[in-house]
Amino acid sequence: MIVELRNPTRTVEFDEAMSVAKLLNRLQVDRGAVLVICDGTLVPYDAKLPADAVVEIRSVISGGAA
């Protein structure tokens, strides 16, 4: 599984299939601060990701006072 993260941009690889919940736990990412996207589609917290999945973990926190 190839996992792309942003801010800072980096790529992490895993050999096995796993759930989104487990993936976020492994990466120590707060589920409330990100979206998990696979093939352009949102993936829910309880979904299973196959071992060959390409996954984007997109941060949703934006900054700068208006």
């Binding site: 409330g32 829910p44 979904a47 997109r58 949703v60 926190i61 006072a65 208006a66």
Partner: protein
């Protein structure tokens, strides 16, 4: 995980609502939250002309899309701030969004029109970049709305933004700022009403709305905002939210319903002192407004405000992008 409405496969869970949604019902949920905010705070009517301030980011593009979907007359305004490559890329997202949907986008470039950019303006005025940026944007929002007859200026501030600002204002007991913190700032001195229809939706919901709706938006953060206090306040609130979902919503919305009245007087006192800027003609408590002072220090040229003939016509003075659908 099943959708709360149709029991089909859900794509997002909203812990603070204890609900999951499929794409279709998530879009409907977002539209309903915006409609609820518009009604709850009496933001505008169906026949008002709206100007949406767009940055190319998720919130501003989402609020523009939702307002158009709900049947409002909404044009966009993009301001080129001259920030490294960031401004060029973010502007491209705004233009592509407008062109793909046949929407009208005003474009104002700080360098072309005023002769300075945010990084140099901030240095010259000895302000932090976010302060110079916010000051510039607020002035241009007013100017474009006034010159083109818009009734209302819409911004994409979401629940997280408002909760973070409230947190900062409370930490420093900024009574005057607390008095002004509301989803609607009424029109005054000819300046348009300013509204925040996304105050019932958080950042994750807005990012999810864009993904589900196929809206491409600027993912990179402004390089000048790194380390600002607004982001620290968001981080702090997110830690609390993680343990107690719904805390941010309660913090902000209960402030509006229960806390805000205690600060109203502080705002009234400040509002009574405004006069007219000798340089641009905009409202200011001083002889010359803060924006014109910033432009002067940055070596730029101020622009005189010219009020449009009425709120029914359009007299564009900026570059505009309009595409047929």
């Amino acid at each position: 995980m099943k959708c709360r409405v149709c029991r089909g496969p859900a794509v997002i869970d909203l812990k603070r609502h204890n609900a999951n949604f499929c794409p279709e019902h998530f879009i409907r949920f977002c539209n309903q939250q915006v409609e609820k905010a518009i009604g709850e705070y009496d933001m505008f009517a169906k026949d008002d002309r709206l100007l949406v301030a767009v940055s190319g980011g998720k919130d501003s593009l989402a609020v523009w899309a939702i307002l158009v979907e709900l049947g409002y007359q909404a044009d966009g305004l993009y301001i080129g701030l001259g920030i490294e490559n960031y401004s060029d890329v973010s502007g491209q997202y705004a233009k592509e969004f407008a062109e793909a949907r046949g929407l009208h986008l005003h474009i104002v470039d700080l360098v072309d029109e005023y002769g300075y950019d945010v990084p140099n303006g901030a240095k010259a005025a000895k302000r932090v970049p976010c302060s110079a940026c916010g000051l510039s944007k607020r002035h241009i929002f007013d100017r474009v709305a006034l010159e083109n007859g818009y009734d209302v200026l819409v911004t994409g501030h979401n629940l997280d933004d408002e909760a973070a600002v409230l947190f900062g204002n409370v930490l420093h007991w900024q009574a005057e700022y607390l008095a002004r913190q509301h989803p609607v700032l009424p029109e005054r001195d000819g300046m348009p009403r300013k509204v925040k229809p996304l105050v019932r939706l958080d950042e994750r919901e807005m990012a999810a709305y864009c993904v589900v709706s196929g809206i491409d938006y600027m993912l990179d953060e402004c390089p000048m905002s790194a380390g600002n206090s607004h982001l620290r306040y968001k981080d702090a609130l997110n830690l609390v939210e993680q343990a107690s979902p719904g805390t941010k919503q309660a913090f902000f919305h209960k402030f509006l319903s229960q806390g805000a009245p205690f600060f109203a007087e502080a705002g009234d006192e400040k509002r009574a002192e405004l006069g007219t800027c000798a340089t641009c003609g905009g409202p200011t408590p001083n002889d010359v407004c803060a924006f014109c002072r910033l432009v002067e220090r940055a070596g730029g040229q101020p622009v005189k405000l010219t009020r449009g003939p009425s709120r029914s016509g359009s007299t564009p003075t900026q570059q505009t992008v309009t595409a047929e659908p």
